[in-house]
Symmetry: C2
Subunit: 124 residues, 2 copies
Amino acid sequence: MIQKNEIERCNCTVIHQDVVDNVRARMPSDENLYDLADLFKVFGDTTRIQILSGLVESEMCVCDIAVLLNMTQSAISHQLKVLKDARLVKGRKEGKIVYYSLDDHHVNNIFKEGFTHINEDKHN
Amino acid sequence: MIQKNEIERCNCTVIHQDVVDNVRARMPSDENLYDLADLFKVFGDTTRIQILSGLVESEMCVCDIAVLLNMTQSAISHQLKVLKDARLVKGRKEGKIVYYSLDDHHVNNIFKEGFTHINEDKHN
DNA sequence: ACAACACATGAACATTCATTCATATGAGTT
DNA sequence: AACTCATATGAATGAATGTTCATGTGTTGT
């Protein structure tokens, strides 16, 4: 009889069961990690990073952003929706024009940490 | 005659040229933003987030991680390569076994910022 | 030398997702 | 009311990417 624990997924024997148990107990919940990955997924696209990076400097309307990045208004609008759903940007309507700005003061901090890591890489 | 600036990409007239110019001057270089997006792309996957989150607690070998996450050794190995290429984890070989650990003390900070944002969302 | 094991890796497949295209909405203008 | 302009959005297309499967590499033990 084989152990019934991971019959299908893992093809290797457990080496350090105690470590695994300990880590599992200390890790954040799956749901939290899921949400975290979803958040970083939003940051993990060049267009969206550029948009966020631009909005750090000033609020802008959709057309401004499209011109800034030399991209279609439609493409920008789609990405703004993603950023809005992730609560990273917000829109302020003024007549026909919608002015977008950062909805989160953490964006800067997250950027900063990211840049720190990248720059540290350059030492090698 | 039409303006020659953005003939193809953007279908809307520039609204705030001054703002756009100003923002463009202050924004980080495209290359830096590219690298930043690439970094966050690595964080933007559930499996990799789980791996990193586990390695925050303790170094582990590939099989340990596979058991921890109930996934194939192959899948874990592939993702470890991605994490290694991004200089987020490093491997220490001891006989047949390779022990992986975090290669970057910023990982914790980035996690923290991410969680802060997620938790702040819950207020709505 | 041979077998067993931990890990790495290339190709194939499936899914996710960013952009494009066409069109809709909604506000201002005449 | 008709028209223009800024923005939003649904469907389709194409590219990027995560997992699986099969196999390769390197180390340990007999």
